[in-house]
Amino acid sequence: MSELISRDVVLHVAWLARLFLTDEQIEAMTKQFNEILSYFRKLDRVDTSNVPLELYVTPLKDITREDIVEASLNPDEALKNAPKREGKYFKAPKMM
């Protein structure tokens, strides 16, 4: 089977997804990627050149709401599940 996706692409995707894999995992994943994707490429057989790009499955449209304020959560409730907090803030890791 010819390779659809190289190890480098899998590495890049893993970086985009922030899922860092060990060397063995990358090897295994590259193999699986190729198996699964070549199955997915079955879609190549479908001629879609005249099929409009329909972004939605639902026939609904024009669903909006009015600009009216409703109650927010109470702050203790909002922060209750935070793994780390400081005062009334959620505490996240440093950025750099």
Binding site: L16, R18, L53, L55, Y56, T58, L60, K61, D62, I63, T64, R65, E66, D67, I68, V69, E70, S72, L73, P75, A78, L79, E86, G87, K88, Y89, F90, K91, A92, P93, K94, M95, M96
Partner: protein
């Protein structure tokens, strides 16, 4: 202003304008009025990105977006489609942002518009590439600056507030031009009533800069239009230094460190093509009918250009005055309120454009942040007209009015600043000066120029309060008396 003699600078802007006149956020019914609140008090499952929560579009946000698109001469799309922009940052509650996109079946709310700006070099057209709606990220609080803070504190009150992203073509060539454009944009959105630029962080900007045809560097996180100028200047000098040393500028994203006034490279380097945009499946398309657009057009308020023309015809102001006054809605409003109370329009304009703006600049505040009101300015102008104070004194007390908001009449009384125009009082000062400077008196009898020295001394003694015309007359009269008595 940057000297461009040696480098060609190209600037494109991505402006983020908060639709601050909305009552609620873009996709939930939390109050959008998040400023000066305790952290995390206007949040709900949707704007916190809790599992199971869903977005519902605020119709009024689309309405305001359409207004701006029309005011910026954009083509309007016939439907609104939201896309997900995928990237991970703790200010994004879902780790994707609901935004709009112009590819893979997407279309921005507005596209291909323009804004005309007036620069020293003349009229220029800045093209608008696109305008779209998106949600504001949360606010991150750092201990010190982003690069040194040992952790980040997140306040999601701002998360989900409606933002309008306005992207220009790279049509700007200096920090000054960028500033003029941003001021114009602000005036437009304020006149439309969609945003209050005076609110902290309501207008932010990312800047794309390239130098001498080099690669484009994006500077993110500039929290006010004032900072934009500083960031451009810094980045320009940084890149110029590198080019001088033979370094090739790489395409990258940098972060504006507001505390240290530098740009810092961002480690994570997702680019536009890494965002994996796809249509937001939790929302449905919204069609923009011709009827909707017509309603917008019919209710479009007066914009700065039109107001400028009206100020010229209605108040007889020169082009330049009308131009300057309409750079800010607050300033133009101030002028027109004052004009209801006081009929010498040009005089109001002169004071606003001159001493008021100069003082505001020096104090680094906006007219809306200052304490001066149209009533107070007019009160002062009347004091001058009535001859109670001199124009020179007016220049002194205006600063105090701006800072304290106190009535000029009271200030004048308290400081005993009232002009001395009684001949009796002035003669007492004159006699005193003539006794103190007999040599000067002698000179003055022969030399016209020396008279001014004597007048100056009296002015000094009265702390500038002497009525200059009467004083002049009395000094000459006194000299004439001496001259005739000597003969």
């Amino acid at each position: 202003m940057i000297n461009l003699s040696e480098s060609e600078l190209i600037i494109g802007l991505e402006c983020h304008v908060q639709l601050s006149t909305l009552k609620t956020k873009l996709f939930c019914s939390c109050s959008a009025d998040y400023r000066e609140l305790e952290p995390n008090t206007v949040v709900c499952p949707t704007c916190l990105g809790l599992p199971g929560s869903l977005p519902v579009v605020n119709k009024e946000a689309i309405n305001l977006g359409l207004k701006v698109a029309k005011a910026l001469n954009c083509e309007i799309s016939d439907k609104i489609i939201f896309f997900r922009k995928n990237y991970y940052y703790p200010d994004m509650p879902k780790n994707f942002q609901i935004s709009q996109y112009d590819r893979v079946g997407g279309i921005p709310l507005g596209r291909d518009g323009y804004v005309n700006i007036k620069t020293d070099a003349g009229e220029r057209t800045v093209r608008i590439r696109r305008i779209h709606l998106e949600e504001d990220p949360a606010r991150i609080v750092y201990l010190g600056s982003i690069s040194t803070s040992p952790y980040s504190l997140i306040d999601y009150n701002r998360a989900g507030v409606a933002l309008l992203e306005i992207v220009t073509e790279p049509d700007l060539t200096s920090d000054e031009e960028a500033h003029i454009f941003l001021k114009k944009l602000r005036s437009i959105v304020e006149h439309l009533g969609v945003s209050d630029g005076g609110l902290q962080g309501s207008m932010r900007c990312d800047v794309n800069i390239s130098l001498s045809g080099g690669k484009r560097v994006e500077i993110k996180n500039i929290s006010s239009f004032k900072e934009v100028k500083k960031a451009i200047k810094y980045e320009f000098l940084r890149q110029k230094q590198l080019i001088k040393r033979g370094v090739i500028i790489e395409q990258e994203t940098r972060h504006w460190d507001e505390v240290r006034k530098t740009t810092v490279s961002m480690r994570s380097k997702e680019t536009e093509q890494d965002y994996r945009y796809f249509p937001e499946p939790d929302l449905v398309p919204i069609h923009i009918s011709g009827e909707w657009i017509n309603k917008i057009l019919a209710n479009l308020p007066e914009l700065p250009e039109a107001r400028k023309t009206r100020l010229m015809t209605q108040y007889g102001l020169p082009t330049h005055d009308a131009e300057v006054l309409t750079t800010s809605k607050a300033l133009a409003d101030f002028f027109e309120k004052a004009a209801e109370l006081y009929k010498n329009y040009k005089n109001i304009s002169n004071w606003l454009m001159g001493d008021v703006l100069r003082n505001l600049n020096e104090l680094d505040i906006e007219i809306s942040e200052s304490k001066i009101t149209p009533e107070l300015l007019v009160s002062m102008l009347k004091l001058i007209d009535e001859g109670v104070i001199s124009g020179k004194l007016g220049k002194i007390i205006i600063r105090e009015v701006i800072q304290t908001g106190r009535d000029p009449r009271i200030l004048v009384e308290e400081k005993k600043l009232i002009k001395i125009s009684s001949e009796e009082s002035l003669n007492l000062y004159i006699t005193q000066v003539f006794q103190e400077y007999p040599g000067a008196v002698k000179d003055a009898l022969k030399d016209e120029k020396a008279i001014h020295y004597l007048i100056g001394q009296v002015m000094k003694k009265t702390a500038g309060r002497a009525d200059p015309d009467i004083l002049n007359k009395l000094v000459r009269k006194k000299l004439a008396e001496i001259s005739s008595s000597v003969q």
